[in-house]
């Protein structure tokens, strides 16, 4: 706790223009989370910069949700330090929670009251006055295209509408940091794109965002920087293009076949050509080559092609291709 405080001073001092907007939205140092014998987060360090969208990727059980829950003060820190806008989550929880907005993964809207009352009462939890809460609720409903449903019961909304209402609710305190846990899981493509548009607009307005997602396209389109977590540790950190180039290269050659012999021959040929190979029972991935090796590697009974590397390749290279749960 003591060195926590001094860290924060350093963090503030580095950007020492003095304005509060230069304080790092999130600074984690040697952050650990344990549940009894289970270590969910094993001493991670990261910093989130003002105004960026920062992504947490990783398979289930990687420790991203535990990390997010510590940031939102829903779960106590086991050890290490965690500062949100220079405030300690351990000792200044109320202050931290008043400047962040949380969009949970599950729908925990209040379905005993109307759409607009969800926003009004939630604003009330922040101590926002009734008139102000009412004004903000109405503005938010307009912004999120829910104004026509203001007086509907929540359970009459579609999945996409509920998700928009959850985001609107998370913004009701005009937070400096918005924390989103899998914001588009379960939505249809139209609703996803609407949510993405909303989030990009918020980013343009300078809202810092923290995001967990299992969708690599979502991470690639929204995140300025991201970390890939696995088994409680951070395996890589960077911008999406940086990570792709560093970990998966420019091009990936991919071969599919149910004939293991054919796949073995393809893998051998590509390895000889200098590629790094990852092989599963029906697929070969080759990294570090360009597309010109495709044709000469082909074997009857297999499909082979090259494509640009993407974030999914990064994710799978780092966290492995097998299901670990």
């Amino acid at each position: 706790m003591v060195q926590v405080g001094s860290d924060s001073q350093v963090a503030v001092g580095v950007d020492s223009s003095g304005a509060s907007s230069d304080v790092k939205p999130v600074v984690a140092r040697s952050l650990v989370k344990e549940f009894g014998d289970l270590v969910a987060v094993r001493g991670i360090d990261f910093e989130v910069r003002p105004g960026e969208c920062f992504g947490f990727l990783g398979p289930n059980g990687a420790g991203k949700t535990s990390t997010m829950r510590m940031i939102t003060c829903a779960s106590p820190v086991t050890s290490g330090s965690l500062l949100v806008n220079g405030l300690s989550v351990q000792t200044q929880g109320r202050a931290v929670k008043s400047i962040i907005g949380v969009v949970p993964q599950g729908d925990n809207l209040d379905d005993e009251i109307s759409v607009i009352n969800n926003l009004r009462l939630y604003a009330g939890y922040f101590g926002i006055s009734r008139t102000e809460a009412d004004a903000r609720a109405k503005t938010a409903l307009e912004l999120f295209q829910l104004a026509e449903r203001a007086d509907s019961p929540v359970d009459e909304l579609s999945g996409g509408m509920k998700r928009r209402l959850l985001i609107a609710r998370g913004l009701i305190n005009e937070p400096e940091i918005l924390v989103l846990d899998e914001p588009t899981t379960g939505l249809d493509p139209q609703a996803r794109h609407l949510v993405w548009r909303t989030l990009r607009r918020l980013k343009d307005q300078g809202v810092t965002m923290l995001l967990t997602t299992h969708y690599m396209d979502e991470a690639a389109t929204l995140c300025d920087r991201l970390i890939v977590m696995h088994e409680g540790r951070i395996l890589a950190e960077g911008t999406p293009p940086e990570l792709i180039l560093r970990i998966a290269g420019e091009t990936v050659i991919e071969a599919h076949s149910l004939d293991v012999g054919a796949l073995d021959r393809i893998a051998e040929h590509l390895r000889d050509a200098g590629a790094e190979i990852e092989q599963t029972p029906d697929t070969v991935h080759a990294f570090g080559l360009n597309g010109s090796d495709v044709a000469e590697s082909n074997v009857p009974g297999a499909q082979i092609y090259s494509r640009p590397a993407n974030l999914e390749d990064v994710f799978l290279r780092l966290t492995g291709r097998s299901l670990e749960e």
Binding site: R94, P104, N108, L121, Y122
Partner: protein, 257 residues
Amino acid sequence: MILTPARVPYGFRVWRRNWTVFRRFALAEVGPLFVEPLVVLGAMGIGLGAYVTLGGDESYVKFIGPGIVGGYSLFAAFFECTYGSYTRMAIRGLYEAMIATPLSIEDVITGEVLWGATRSLFSATVILFVLSVMGFVDSPMAILILPLAFLGGILFSSMALLVTAHAPSFWTFNYAITLGVMPMYFFGGVFFPLERYPDVVRELAWVIPLTPYVAVVRELVAGSLSMTTVWGLLYLVVLGAAFYYLAVARMKARLIR
């Protein structure tokens, strides 16, 4: 510290949420509020009462009146803070939503206790109104039953939330009612004077939190206060504080990991 006056305004934000929902369904709630105690007064007081002789010339239906105030204060708080609170906590995820705001779990439980106490107050108000219309209230002192009902409600709500904190499902509450609430209702001095019991049992009956509450209600209705009221109030306050503290601690253990 959890028991600070500074907590109350935060708890009130949670109270307001429950009040908003209650107002929506108020019409549906008011009917039963009147009907239930009338049924008990009618069946037990007038039906059974015809066969019951008390010491003085007091009618049985008049005797059980204050007991019904007590019983329904208990029921109102208990149902609100078991079935109601469990639904909000485990089914709707509202506690989780609330503690993502500046509210802490302590604030949420405080708000729930204040709301349960309000439900006790509503019940006591309705029954007291019925009793006074029927001419069963002897003293204007009876108006003090209203703040007493709020105090008793804090105790009963805290006890209920302690059960809720350990409940794996709604079934738990059925056991709590069979093993806890109904015995309190039948042995807490609602339906017959404690003097009926052998001495040892009479003393033991005071362990039941409903007993002092009903005893104080009786004295207020009659307008004759004794040391029973002093000790009764003290007991309610101490027990209320203890159960409130326990309820907060156990909820915290359940929800904050």
